[in-house]
Assembly symmetry: C2
Homo-oligomer: 329 residues x 2
Amino acid sequence: MEPNTYAQAGVNIAKAEAFVERLKKQSRRPGHKDLWKGAGGYAAIMPINNDIGMALTTDGVGTKLLIALELNKLETIGIDLVAMCANDLICVGAKPSGFLDYYATSKLDDRMADDLIKGIVEGCDQADMLLVGGETAELPDLYEGKHFDIAGFAAGLVRRDELLTGESIQPGDKLIGVASTGIHSNGLSLARKVLTDKKWKEELLTPTAIYVKPVVQLLGGRGLIKGVANITGGGWRNILRLNANVGYRINNPLSLPEVFVELGKKVSSLEMYKTFNMGMGLAVITSGDTDKIIETFKEFNFKAQVVGEATENKGHIEIDGGIVLGGKI
Amino acid sequence: MEPNTYAQAGVNIAKAEAFVERLKKQSRRPGHKDLWKGAGGYAAIMPINNDIGMALTTDGVGTKLLIALELNKLETIGIDLVAMCANDLICVGAKPSGFLDYYATSKLDDRMADDLIKGIVEGCDQADMLLVGGETAELPDLYEGKHFDIAGFAAGLVRRDELLTGESIQPGDKLIGVASTGIHSNGLSLARKVLTDKKWKEELLTPTAIYVKPVVQLLGGRGLIKGVANITGGGWRNILRLNANVGYRINNPLSLPEVFVELGKKVSSLEMYKTFNMGMGLAVITSGDTDKIIETFKEFNFKAQVVGEATENKGHIEIDGGIVLGGKI
């Protein structure tokens, strides 16, 4: 049977989330200052003093790695790795500053390692971040054949008065969607089983867009942005993470990249919206000047448009055509 | 053939180091403040303002994981993970503050995941650090069977006037050794092939000591400590990382844990010293009150003693009995 849901592809999001919840309970201990709360828990924010905090996050690229290995094309997977971390930092209003990578493989291969770095450095440039360190581990017997794994860690700084909490979002606020470059680094366990043709596999490798520069520029505009959601695993439901008291209506979506049209031939629409970014890699919420925001993204060659607005139907995203998304990611 | 060197066990340290060097070249970019230089490159330090910097590091536990899996005993491997990161932060004078873990597996197993967290939380408590986040990835097809990997990421803060650079170390300074709890998390690829008996495998799983609390307490004593070396991969040569202009003579080593005696039956002495901590998990260099330092470690139940001193024989460690260590790790 061909898998056509994310769970059938072997990924249990609910179980993973429950584990993360158990982890979170550990983040309060006596003798430590309380963390600052950033929107959607996209990054942990530790206060340094009253004015500035350190935002920390970690991520991997999932099974996009396996496609890169299969196609023997590792030059851009590092961009994805940086993107997954950097795009999370900006969701809490932090400016990315330092990146570290963990790279574990059965046997270090110079060409593969250099290709990998090349992508990481390119990603760091796009995110205006420094690659400051890393761990390279040769783990014979743990990884099979040419398999390896990479994890990224990013640290940023956020001024308390620029922290994005999502708290001020209210019905009527505009939702601006910023175009993705394709599937990014989510839903690949499903996609790579559905799209087995080489042409599509190459398409799946398109690097994740890094939205840091325009967002950092917009953060300077005091309160113009109320929330930023990185659309990763769980699809558009990520927008619901920002504020539990509102919902959204999306009636003017960005055009759908071809890869999603192809995936849609095998995967149900609901499953598609619950899993993939569907052409919108980042969502920005504002009650201010939408043109200014759209123009700023355009300066950095990102297509952006008003795709909908916040509603009173809390916890739900109504999509034109009848699909309603809700529930925890 | 039974492997009896680290290279034969499949680990090429020189190659890994060369890769890290290539990575380091990327850490200077226009538009970014220069990093502060901490001793031995144990952690990257990014200035936040003139007074305070953010120290960042990442590490894994290597093939100690495979022993944990084989013995089905995952409760303490998280302690090792935290230790590998936290013990690096203190080498640059930073106080550990936040920890994140990356945990990737083929299929999330609640019991395994909970055991893993248990260790991470225990490690964070020992390091007086908060577990503030993590990524849990289910990667079907990348990891085989019950295999998984974990990486740790730690951030700390360091005052500029407490930064450990190792620059002031000079011949005649005392070298204080602090006892390890056994093999810690280095040299396991070799050790687990030499020690195949279950009794010894259990011994190899003993968690890595976390030296944070005594060292942080000592850092308050302005200049009392000139350098701290976490003895990880490469053995005692780690001490040479602190200052290239001196060497060391070690004539009063800490007693050798039994596991190293056993390993020594199969592995040459030179290889042992080049690979393992040989009973000394941390080295502290001072020209001040050695008793105060030793007493402070004792308060936290760590055995410490003056094991030798810095010499003019730069780049070399002379060990009583005739072994001389040198060269890059």
